[in-house]
């Protein structure tokens, strides 16, 4: 197994934590993992993204340029990174903030209105990123439920640990949404 | 008659103008501008006293203020 995941969006959308969560969960299952954040110019604002690799063998280059999965949380990220996705790769997009269609025809696409769902069904727009992550997990079977929960403990600062249940709910919601369709598009070894 | 205008594209929704306005007529709009911020606006131009406090506080030089009559 060798997954190369890119996650991109606005700073503040929780893009980096999504990646961290995957990396931690992978590590808890004794997989090789790497996580690289975009480190912006020495200033605030703008976009953020990260690269996460999870693999059974040692990771030669954590700096992959053709991700197997791309998750985009805003429109500029889709515009910028769509072309990099590996042919046959998985694109998960936040349709709440992206009102355009992807151009690629050689990829699998899954849309989640994450902000809307988070706000309406979970009462907090903040966990939109976890819905997207849940959807990804349904598709990939990358890591187990249990590892993700463990990872949440690591990623959330202690004073936010009371939010773990909410985050788990959001992940579950994403999983469910993607659940039915996930088997259909699953690929064996990217 | 308009006395104060906001360049919405420049506004970062920081609220410093709101803090400064002595007559409390500035508020952030519901919509987002291109940078993703809720821009400041004034509907009740009549109440504006053209004091330019807002403009003096705006870090993004997004505000223009007019006064009636010659200088």
């Amino acid at each position: 197994m060798h997954e190369e995941i890119m996650i991109a969006g606005f700073g503040g959308q929780g893009v980096l934590s999504m990646g961290l969560l995957l990396a931690y969960a992978g590590m808890f299952e004794n997989k090789h993992v790497s996580w690289i954040p975009s480190y912006g110019p020495e200033m605030r604002g703008g976009t953020a993204n990260c690269l996460v690799a999870v693999a059974d063998e040692a990771i030669s280059s954590p700096l992959f340029s053709e991700p197997t999965t791309l998750m985009v949380l805003n429109r500029p990220s889709l515009e910028k990174f769509e072309r990099d996705l590996m042919p046959g790769g998985l694109l998960i997009m936040n349709s709440s903030l992206i009102d355009m269609e992807p151009k690629r025809r050689d990829i699998r696409i899954f849309k989640v209105p994450a902000n809307t769902l988070a706000r309406e069904r979970l009462g907090s727009e903040k966990v939109g990123n976890m819905i997207l992550l849940g959807a990804y997990l349904a598709f990939s079977d990358l890591v187990r439920e249990n590892s993700v929960t463990q990872a949440l403990v690591k990623v959330l600062p202690e004073h936010r640990h009371h939010l773990i249940p909410l985050n788990r709910q959001a992940i579950e919601l994403g999983r469910e949404l993607a659940g039915s369709g996930s088997r259909r598009v699953h690929r064996n070894a990217v | 008659m308009q006395k104060v205008a906001f360049d919405e594209d420049r506004c970062k929704g920081c609220e410093l103008c709101i803090e400064a306005c002595p007559v409390n007529i500035i508020y952030l709009g519901d919509h987002l501008n291109a940078m993703g911020y809720h821009p400041a606006q004034v509907l009740d131009q009549g109440k504006c006293i053209a004091c330019a406090f807002c403009a003096r506080m705006c870090p993004d030089a997004a505000i223009t203020v007019w006064k009636e009559g010659a200088k």
């Binding site: 590590m27 690289i36 480190y39 030669s60 700096l63 340029s65 053709e66 | -």
Partner: protein, 373 residues
């Protein structure tokens, strides 16, 4: 032992603490800020001292003071800040004080940018400061190595009484990987430092100095330094060779560039090209024998670097031009596995008839010029 997911910068900082580093003097600069930030709370926890100096110059001179007093001490910075430390580094090297200096390289020259780079290779290995000195330069390639080499750096520094530089880049500092941290060094087992300034109580006084006004004495000092560098070269080279046993083309790269090159090697192998990777871990002393061994079967070498052609000069030098060495560098931008693979495929296809015009023209011209040889 269970793994920890850590940023390279933090792994390095924690490993330094475990190696017995108790003093850190630094100044903020991207992309290494996690090192001072981590140590600012971590060192006091273990009874150490963290000082944010007023500048990189002050920081390196605080290191000079602390190192001469016998402490395990570190400073870190990134390219422009490292340039400011050059005078101080030259003093420390001449005074033969052990310390660790971290450079998480960013794009240059000038203010440049903050993305990863390897543009300070020459500065690190040839000596950016004045005079005939050398740092011992370690180039980690993974977060694990950030920790392991940081740990080892303190031992090497003490052993040779020489400043050791850890030469990383922005990505190595920012990246997280699962790692195992080194065990805590038993501080009671650290080598004694009878030369350190601790007050001349019951002994001859100690002097930390790099001034030698008599030319003959200065020469003796320099010869002693050169002897030391030779000894380091004999004993301390480290390198990784990957699939080089039968390689027809060897990629040579260090640090993050080597990670990308390694992926390209894998892909080249998958495409039926016998590619291999040579990765020096010590950049000074340069592992020249390891390089030559790695290139035994190679008909050509390709260096991959995030710079305009620095590392390649050392590779050519140590191969003594016996194997054609091609160069693939990006300056400012990090190259992709794909573009390196393409270069490998192209070179493999041309069987050493490289298009690398700079190298080519130089060689052919030389042949003509030297027909009389």
């Amino acid at each position: 032992m269970s793994k920890a997911l850590m940023k390279g910068n933090e792994a390095l900082a924690e490993a330094a603490v475990r190696a017995g580093c108790r003093f850190f003097f630094g100044y903020p600069i991207t992309p290494q800020n996690e090192i001072p930030e981590y140590l600012s709370w971590r060192l006091p926890e273990v009874g150490g001292v963290f000082i944010q100096a007023e500048s990189e110059l002050a920081a390196i001179n605080m290191v000079y003071g602390a190192a001469g007093s016998g402490a395990r001490v570190m400073t870190s910075s990134s390219s422009p800040g490292i340039s400011l430390k050059q005078e101080g580094i030259s003093y420390i090297a001449c005074s033969e004080l052990p310390c660790v200096i971290v450079n998480m390289m960013r794009g240059g020259p000038g203010l440049g940018g903050i993305q990863p780079s390897q543009g300070d290779y020459f500065q690190a290995v040839k000596g950016g400061g004045h005079g005939d000195y050398h740092l011992l330069v370690l180039a980690p390639g993974t977060v694990q190595e950030m920790a392991d080499l940081a740990f080892k750096a303190f031992a090497l520094a003490d052993e040779y009484r020489n400043p050791v530089m850890i030469l990383g880049d922005g990505i190595l500092g920012q990246m997280m990987e699962g790692i195992e941290l080194p065990e805590f060094q038993d501080l009671s087992e650290l080598p004694p430092k009878p030369w350190a300034t601790t007050g001349a109580k019951g002994r001859e006084r100690n002097i930390i100095n790099s001034l030698y006004l008599e030319p003959e004495v200065l020469e003796q000092v320099n010869l002693r330094l050169q002897d030391k560098y030779r000894l380091m070269a004999e004993r301390e080279t480290m390198a990784e060779s990957y699939l080089t046993e039968d390689a027809e083309i060897v990629l040579a790269a260090y640090g993050t560039a080597a990670r990308i090159a390694k992926a390209a090697v894998d892909k080249a192998r998958a495409a039926g090209i016998r590619a291999g990777l040579f990765r020096p871990i010590t950049l000074y002393p340069f592992p020249k024998y390891e390089l030559r061994r790695a290139c035994q079967t190679a008909s050509q070498v390709l260096t991959v670097e995030f710079s305009a052609g620095q590392f390649v000069e050392d590779v050519r030098y140590h191969l003594e031009f016996k194997v054609p060495v091609h160069f693939y560098g990006r300056v400012g931008v990090v190259p992709t596995t794909k573009e390196i693979l393409e270069e490998v495929v192209r070179l493999a296809g041309s069987q050493g008839r490289s298009q690398n015009s700079e190298v080519r023209s130089q060689n052919s011209e030389f042949r003509i010029q030297n027909e009389g040889f």
